[in-house]
Amino acid sequence: MTDKSASFVYVTFIRTTPEKVFDAITRPEISRHYWGHENVSDDWQPGSEWQNIKANETRTVELVGKVIESAPPKRLVISWANESQKYDPDQYSRVTYDIEQQGDMVKLTVLHDELQPGSGMLKGISEGWPLVLSSMKSFLETGQGLDL
């Protein structure tokens, strides 16, 4: 059996509302501003597909997966794979977004698990998530994302 034991947890506190965080994750016209990519799905309902598409003229689809669980604005669980590896079930990992109000802040926890130790995806996301989440925080608090 494929070893999918690796996992990462990322936490950021953002001065905003849970609804805005959920929208920032699921609405392409928002994600493009801080991610440089659009997260696109027809309805973000369980069983539906989602894609992460580069927000430039190439419109390259970089990541694909399915929605596993959706409870706006508190929780979203999706599967996650490179577009180039989409036919290999072993390459799918799982991302859980938990969004929780704490005082005047929102605690966003991103759990990325079912990853293969030593895989390219693991390396990619461990560089990628801190940038994406810092940029999301900056965008939601100041209207300005970071240069990704």
């Binding site: 690796a6 996992s7 990462f8 947890v9 990322y10 936490v11 950021t12 506190f13 001065r15 926890t109 759990l111 461990s126 998530w129 801190p130 940038l131 989440l133 810092s134 925080k137 970071l146």
Partner: protein, 106 residues
């Protein structure tokens, strides 16, 4: 916002060592971290508490176990705010100059 807490969390060799341990292997229990450190369980717990308050580690429950994960997001924010903006251009130039001078010395 919480840069102070991050700097304070990093201002201790034991806490930096704990972060290194988690960087090597993410998602460890208190017991595993104590084994890796030559320290009393109580001190490790205290250090982990400070690291968690600064949000540079986070914890997750898996059944009866509590696992500790490194959280690089605030470290990235400190980098973005306090290092990147100073290092661009000038530091690269200094680095090149040092390399050039050292090459000439050989």
């Amino acid at each position: 916002m919480d840069d102070d807490k991050v700097f304070k969390a990093l201002a201790d060799p034991n806490r930096r060592q704990l972060l290194d341990r988690l960087c090597e292997r993410n998602g460890q229990t208190l017991g595993q971290l104590c084994e890796a450190m030559d320290m009393k369980r109580q001190s490790v717990t205290q250090h982990l508490g400070l690291l968690e308050q600064a949000n540079v580690i986070s914890t997750q429950r898996r059944g009866r176990e509590k696992l500790h994960f490194i959280n690089p997001v605030p470290l990235y924010e400190v980098y973005e705010r306090w290092i990147r903006k100073f290092e661009e251009g000038r530091l690269a130039l200094l680095h090149d100059l040092k390399q050039e001078l050292e090459r000439n010395e050989k």
